[in-house]
Amino acid sequence: MAEKVLMKGNEAVAEAAIMAGCRHFFGYPITPQTELAAYMAKRMPKLGGTYLQAESEIAAINMVYGASAAGVRAMTSSSSPGLSLKSEGLSYLAGSDLPAVVVNIQRGGPGLGGIRPSQADYFHATRSTGHGDFHLIVLAPNTVQEMFDLTIEAFELADKYRVTAMVLGDGMLGQVMEPVDISRAGNITTFAKDWALTGTQGKRSKNIVNSLYLEAEELEMLNLKRYEKYAEVGKYARTDSYLTEDAEVIVVAYGICARIAKNAVNGARKKGVKAGLIRPITLWPFPKKQMKAAAATAKAFVVVEMSMGQMVEDVELSIRCSRPVILCSRTGGMVPTDEAVISAIMEADRTERS
């Protein structure tokens, strides 16, 4: 029997982390991810784990760096302004090839912005997460169940590839309550971490966790090697599709926007437009192949997102601008309506097939 529990998205992430074996959480209070930290503060002491409220987002991510270097599953969570501060640590984690899980429950920006839901950190997550050449694996849930499932997957992928995996949600997904089947946690893999700092225990030579390489040749070689790993990660590019088989207009949306877009696809179909939805589940790696395949049959694309237009660039790049791509977006904490998306689909349908 499936065990369904009613949970907020933020709580589902926290419970999933615990079920994935994470016993070290380092955080800093910020809306709208607060419930996540609160859940950890309540549960961790009873599990013999660590909940530590850090003095800053910067300290929190560096505590994750230390705990991860010591070989345990560690995570931190925050919301948009906090992620700006964590950027330094994310770069060091990448440079030291340490696994970590970081959650961003996005809110409107820039600056202090607002506390309503947003997807305006897409570029930050997939492009400019910190200085230097590196990537995170970025997972984009669109239900509370997926907040749970993808958090567990994030820990598995992080350990497998020694990278940071980010769960990129938004204020709405963090706050909404939905039933979650927590029995879906599945098996948790134990990864051998012979690189970890556990003390030599007299059994091995010293380990060093470091990202400094003053010889340019060596640093280039390490970056090339890391990008070979990223190429391997590319095979995880994943989407969910809805009515795409005969679709002439492809709507691309992730997270909460994909749920709105799905309604809009149904609405457009009622008006006689063959619309379909592709929902990227991984934002990095971006599902380029799936976009390219859709471009073979579709005449136009509509991208729905809660930003001034960020993922839209990845869609255009994936299809090499071979089809018109219409952006339907709201920003600053505003959420697109079904009607606005339907209008965008109708507009896209009016474009001539090239």
Binding site: N62, L197, G199, T200, K206, I208, V209, N210
Partner: protein, 248 residues
């Protein structure tokens, strides 16, 4: 024949990158001798800073992490919380600990993280070529205080031991110097006590070591030691600022 002096096991057999006359080498050795004497090398994890001591990860024989600038106490916190049985120390300079990493330092102390901090204060940014540090003294000339540090414009130095002594979580804070044989021996005693406190689970310890920077002070090594005695010790008095561990 009896061996009376040799490289501690906790130091690697490596030529360091430190300038001639720099006292980092002495301080590294003291830490290593203490690790050897307490027989903790197998459990020990060090955290190197950004600054002159960035390559400390190559010089200590135990497991080592390199931290982002100023973040060593946060990284050490993560390591210690992951495996509390490990003995965790950071080795940081003044820019790292008392400027960019002030928050990490103060809050590691406030939490009384059971770690040991070796804080090397030479009143200047050495690695980047001699800029004003948070511990540069009023009037002191550096590359970025070319007319001497003017407190009206550049503020006052941070006195770390004095500040941390006021933090409830600080267990042990002592300022030492390595400018003479007597003081080197005293510095070792303090470092040893800090590690002993960690082993006993007594909480946060910091040993501030006054150090020279011949290169960026523009002085011969012997002159630099004299300059330290004449200028630094009066401003940064040596001694125990707090020792809660002794009464526990």
């Amino acid at each position: 024949m009896t061996i009376v002096y040799q490289r501690p096991q906790a130091l690697t057999d490596t030529v360091t990158h430190y300038c001639p006359g720099c006292t980092h080498g002495i301080i590294h050795r003291l830490v290593a001798e203490v690790i050897d004497e307490l027989e903790i090398m197998d459990q020990c994890i060090g955290v190197a800073p950004v600054g002159c001591a960035v390559f400390a990860y190559n010089y200590f024989e135990c497991d080592m992490a390199q931290a982002a600038h100023g973040r060593a106490p946060a990284v050490a916190t993560g390591i210690k919380r992951a495996n509390p049985a490990n003995i965790v120390f950071t080795y940081q300079g003044d820019g790292d600990l008392a400027a960019i990493g002030t928050a990490e330092t103060v809050h590691a102390a406030a939490r009384s993280e059971n770690i040991t901090i070796i804080f090397v204060n030479n009143a200047i940014y050495g690695m980047t070529g001699g800029q004003m540090a948070p511990t540069t003294m009023p009037g002191q000339i550096t590359q970025t205080s070319p007319y001497g540090r003017d407190p009206k414009l550049a503020g006052y130095p941070v006195k770390v031991c004095e500040m941390l002594a006021e933090v409830d979580g600080t267990t042990y804070a002592e300022r030492v110097s390595v400018d003479s044989v007597k003081r080197v021996r005293n510095a070792k005693r303090a470092i040893r006590k800090a590690f002993e406190y960690q082993i006993a689970g007594k909480g946060f310890s910091i040993i501030e070591v006054l150090s020279t920077c011949s290169t960026n002070w523009g002085l011969e090594p012997v002159e630099a030691l004299e300059w330290l005695r004449k200028n630094m010790i009066p401003y940064y008095p040596l001694g125990v600022y707090k020792d809660k561990g002794a009464s526990e």
